[in-house]
Assembly symmetry: C2
Homo-oligomer: 217 residues x 2
DNA sequence: CGTGGCTTGTGACTTTGTGCACAAGGTCGA
DNA sequence: TCGACCTTGTGCACAAAGTCACAAGCCACG
């Protein structure tokens, strides 16, 4: 098909969604073309890096002019695989799971909520955002109905691995894990994690480097 | 004081909290010592990397034996600057802000909730988790009372920069941003971001690489 | 149709991160 | 006390990522 697409480096992949968000903004503002310099400013990175990143998608810029915003946006969506929706299933209807289910932003960005499941019978049947919580036994059916689908783990860390196994068994091929625990999956499954406590601890590190805190006075 | 601590690479810093979490688990299990091999397995990384990471903190291992869990945990806390609590202030009492405020895990890990503020008068005064929402005008006072403190942005992206500016003006020196927007701060301020849609898009990319999806049939 | 000015795309280089392999150094049993 | 056995700590070679600088290419204008 496409021909020349070299393998895209991980570091570049991690930045593409940032560019995507910016391009959507630019389209909203009816801005027809954008130079790497401007894009770099909006993304908070180096202009050469932007050009190199974009060059992995193909040669879509015009020298002396910049990039056509619409066209680049189209290509970016293509590259990221977000030309169609990816439904998500949230496992765990606790504080975080409910917040995620209530969040309209996902649907708007192409990740509509397919359902929420929970192991706690007292939570099954309750409303969260636009859906009702379903039992774990419905997982397989839910996945089959929406495939391909992304699974989100919003349960306590102690059961994260077990939940991941259940998601994989049900046919989920991509997982986002919010629980603070190591989860391993077969190599064909994509896995990412978000750990908020970890982020806070990293902030703590850099902050205490700058200005060591007074010890217990 | 300490003497020989070389500068710790960013990649290592990002892994330290993971080791910290594992060490806490090991202490709970009354496991006295741990070898880099085991630690690597628990963290899902290479053993040589673990040893190199730990060596930046100092020479705390014993050849032939491994690392003393208690002592390493102490040193790790020291290095990360989490020997004392870092209170957090959440800005924005929406879906996400409330989930964060309700989350007990932060307090347990040394990040107690100092308060929640919101610009919306109808939200001010309502209960979220253990506190009541306070007006933005209380921010300065709240920060002064708890300093040093970490600010969490849980507002819409459109106001994220403005909120960041207010946090900085109030004396916050570290910020965690959940809004999908570029935020810039003075160099003395530590800033990290968490963007969930971005994570989903990265998953989308890797998944569509593996198995390109059928086009609109 | 030619020239000047602007911006891309990329080769060369630097910096950062990873992983192997092994000497150094410690433990423990005899 | 000695030696066999482990595991650390790190030098080194390689891989990945980031930056610079500039030739190539395009547009616009006269
Ligand atoms: N709430 C937050 O803001 C927040 C922030 C950072 C991290 N986290 C992490 O996210 C996860 C969820 O946090 P929370 O505050 O929503 O917790 P919570 O206790 O409120 O919710 C957890 C939910 O998971 C369900 N559950 C438990 N075991 C299950 C299983 N085996 N299968 C399916 N569902 C199961 C429970 O019934 C409950 O509804 C935790 O790992 C937490 O560390 C939460
Ligand atoms: N809810 C989620 O699960 C989720 C997931 C991913 C990302 N996010 C991001 O987190 C942010 C918050 O999401 P949400 O779902 O909680 O939104 P929300 O609309 O429910 O809440 C936003 C809150 O911010 C307050 N606010 C608005 N402007 C303010 C200002 N200038 N100063 C102080 N407070 C202000 C509002 O009054 C409101 O209470 C958004 O940027 C969203 O994109 C949320």
């Amino acid at each position: 098909m496409d021909g020349h697409t070299r393998r895209i480096p991980d570091a570049t992949v991690a930045r593409l969604p940032e560019y995507l968000r910016i391009l959507v903004d630019l389209v909203d503002q009816r801005i027809p073309t954008v130079a790497s310099e401007r894009l770099a400013e909006l993304a908070g990175v180096n202009a050469a890096k932007v050009r190199k990143d974009l060059s992995y998608l193909g040669t879509y810029g015009t020298r002396g002019v910049g990039y056509d915003v619409d066209y680049l946006l189209f290509q970016m969506r293509q590259a990221l695989g977000v030309t169609q929706d990816w439904p998500v299933i949230v496992v765990g209807a606790g504080n975080l799971g409910r917040a995620l289910a209530n969040y309209a932003g996902f649907g708007e960005r192409g990740f509509p909520l397919a359902g929420v499941v929970d192991a706690d019978d007292t939570k099954v049947g309750t409303e969260v955002g636009p859906v009702r919580v379903r039992p774990m036994s419905d997982l397989k059916e839910l996945v089959a109905e929406h495939r391909p689908v992304i699974g989100i783990i919003a349960t306590p860390g102690a059961v994260a691995q077990q939940v991941a196994d259940e998601l994989v068994a049900a046919g989920v091929t991509a997982i986002l894990n919010f629980a603070p625990a190591l989860v391993t999956v077969p190599p064909s499954i994509s896995l990412r994690k978000v750990d908020l406590a970890l982020e806070l601890q990293i902030l703590s590190f850099y902050q205490s480097q700058r200005e060591p805190r007074r010890d217990s006075a």
